[in-house]
């Protein structure tokens, strides 16, 4: 109903890019596992495109999830939603050309001054193509989240009211609290506008430095801006996607999942903590003010509380003895809450300064975020894809989809755990080659990754079948259909 064609385009592009990026992930793991000969330049190009593509595609698809549900409550600009997709695709083309035609390979975290100082591995053109590509993608998202904030302010009066602060303060009854989609939309608008401004700033500084190397800036400031952008933007993917979990589990269990004071406080905590805790990426920069690093640990712990005590707990409570009818959408929604919760554990462990001292930049870090993203955020996106195919297209799932569901759980868990094991073995991350002692887990992960790609392909095929359906009277009003 709500501009579903555009939503479908977002999802199919996002889903397909995620699938392709998994392919690059497998190639890297097989190379590290010693069974595939991959030159270091190719490895680092794949690493750059894998990280950029995964974060970009997941954010794109997640923003469609948010847009779909949020637009049922507030009036969002369809033109901006369209413009974001066009800008994303434009930026993506520049990034791909920069990486594959001009050998650019700075990783998606592009720590200044690496984009310029590559030891002559790539030139100015490659760096500029990549950086401008990222800037264009960032501008698209910035417009989208500014519009999100604008629409919420128009409906609710302020962003504070979008987060339900008037309810927390007791000025309004709990029953009048904003809908979860509005609360999440407000949180994401706040954190992502901040993150994208930080990101655009550091990208522009890098661009100027690339064009004119005599223009320099502070590497520590650049690092702060890069992580303030990267951490928050990557984090926001799950906060956009989780809206589908609130909506689906409430519908499927026929139990209300409405915001109360604890729920509102949890989301306000997440808003503040998400902005604050990027410094846990810099715990090994002792020149940083010590209080900022301690904040990095303390608030990383605290940021686990909203999900552990409120969101995941709420999901468990609503499903427990509910008589829920499981299908792919509800199954994936429930799985995603498991993935989010379980992925929080290695993150909290690594945010502990004394642990970080011997585990930072080992494969423990990708272990955490593959679990958190692969079993959490991305699964929420797949849940939404199955939901839309069901309610809007009336498409039935087959046994193959269920096989894919269970295969996905096992293989994604295997990929994540091999990273964690590698991290515990002190294997450094982002290394094109491994010594024999480090190869085993990588090879295991690469093989698991092959089956993961097959499972994900089946998810995407189901969604493509939905898109290609003809002569179907589309109607995504779930409640109406139930009647």
């Amino acid at each position: 109903m709500v501009h579903n064609r555009l939503i479908r385009n977002y999802l199919i592009i996002g889903g397909t890019v995620i699938l392709l990026m998994m392919g690059f992930g497998i190639l890297m793991l097989l190379a590290q596992g010693g069974v595939l000969s991959l030159s270091p330049p190719s490895f680092y190009q794949y690493m750059t495109i894998h990280g950029t593509g995964m974060i970009g595609a997941a954010a794109l698809a997640a923003s469609a999830v948010m847009w779909y549900f949020l637009s049922q409550h507030v009036t969002l600009s369809k033109n901006i939603f369209k413009a974001n997709l066009v800008l994303f695709l434009t930026g993506l083309v520049l990034v791909i050309i920069g990486v594959f035609s001009f050998d650019y390979a700075s990783a998606w975290t592009f720590l200044y001054p690496l984009p310029t100082l590559s030891a002559k591995a790539w030139g100015t053109v490659g760096a500029l193509l990549y950086l401008f590509g990222m800037l264009i993608i960032g501008i698209g998202f910035l417009l989208l989240f500014i519009d999100t904030g604008r629409a919420i302010i128009k409906k609710k009066g302020s962003l504070a009211k979008g987060l339900g602060w008037d309810v927390i303060a007791g000025k309004k009854a709990e029953k009048d609290a904003p809908e979860p989609a509005i609360i999440a939309g407000t949180m994401v608008a706040i954190v992502n506008v901040t993150a994208l401004i930080a990101g655009a700033t550091v990208i522009m500084m890098n661009i100027i430095h690339t064009v004119n190397p005599s223009f320099t800036f502070d590497p520590l400031l650049a690092k702060n801006l890069t992580f303030a952008f990267g951490h928050v933007f990557a984090n926001s993917i799950i906060y956009m996607s989780v809206i589908v979990v609130y909506e689906l589990l409430a519908k499927y269990t026929n139990r209300p999942w409405k915001a109360n004071k604890v729920f509102l406080i949890a989301w306000s905590m997440s808003t503040i903590f998400t902005l604050m805790i990027y410094t846990h990426h810099m715990l090994m920069d002792s020149v940083m003010p010590k209080w900022m690093l301690i904040i990095g640990q303390v608030f990383s712990y605290a940021n686990g509380l909203p999900v552990l005590i409120v969101t995941a707990y709420g999901a468990l409570m609503i499903v427990y003895k509910s008589g829920i009818k499981w299908d792919m959408a509800s199954g994936l929604a429930f799985l995603s809450m498991f993935g989010w919760t379980v992925g929080v554990v290695p993150a909290i462990i690594d945010a502990t300064i004394v642990v970080n001292h011997v585990m930072h930049n080992t494969k423990w870090v990708p272990g955490h975020f593959h679990m958190y993203m692969g079993l959490g955020a991305v699964v929420m996106i797949f849940a939404f894809m199955y939901y839309l195919a069901k309610v809007d297209g009336g498409l039935k799932v087959t046994k193959l989809d269920w096989i894919a569901f269970f295969s996905y759980i096992v293989t994604m868990a295997a990929v994540s755990i091999q990273f964690l094991v590698s991290g515990a073995l002190s294997t450094p991350r982002r290394w094109a080659t491994h010594i024999p002692e480090w190869m085993g887990p990588a090879l295991f992960g690469g093989i698991a990754g092959v089956f993961l790609v097959i499972a994900t392909t089946l998810f995407i095929v189901h969604f493509v079948r939905y898109i290609l359906q003809r002569n179907v009277k589309r109607n995504d009003l779930y409640d109406e259909k139930l009647v």
Partner: protein, 174 residues
């Protein structure tokens, strides 16, 4: 070893979470009134929430007692060995690479070009300490070797196409 503690702790909590989700999934097909469940679960949440916060507070206080940034491992009046470490694409320059067991060392780490990571590995290839090597800044690692042997320095921050080749060896004798 910290890595083992981190791994086992993670595994225990991850298995606990898995068990809870599986339990709820198994119980999901039964159908009961929601209100009594909500009442009971909200009550339990208060206890669970407080326990979790207290647990995290204890761990926070315990782990923040001794930070790697400000813990010289030598006593007052004892002069540490200062080692200047310079990173550059794609190698390390150390002002000294041979040390004695028990010698108090401060590695002053910086970079001449891009960001690198100064990771110290023992003979079994377990990481024992690290810091970032940054242009224009100097990060410090305090260390006293307790075992003789050949230790490795590995780059732990992606710095370009030969990042994985950026290694160095340190010798520690009795």
């Amino acid at each position: 070893m910290i890595q083992t503690v981190a791994w086992i702790t993670s595994l225990v909590f991850m298995l606990l979470i898995t068990f809870i989700f599986l339990f709820v999934a198994m119980k999901s097909t039964e159908k009961r009134e929601y209100e009594p469940i909500k009442k009971k679960w909200y009550k339990a949440r208060t206890f669970y929430g407080i326990t979790l916060v207290v647990f995290m507070l204890i761990i926070t206080i315990y782990t923040l007692r001794e930070l790697p940034y400000d813990q010289p491992v030598y006593g007052k009046g004892e002069d540490p060995t200062i080692v200047e470490v310079e990173a550059l694409q794609f190698g390390w320059e150390l002002s000294q690479s041979e040390f004695k067991v028990g010698e108090a060392i401060e590695f002053h780490v910086s970079s001449q070009d891009v960001n690198h990571g100064f990771g110290l590995y023992d003979e079994e290839m377990n990481m024992i300490a690290q810091t970032q090597a940054m242009p224009e800044y100097t990060n410090v690692v305090y260390l006293t070797f307790t075992e003789p042997g050949t230790y490795g320095v590995l780059c732990l921050e992606y710095c370009g196409l030969a990042h994985h080749a950026m290694t160095y060896q340190i010798t520690v004798t009795n």
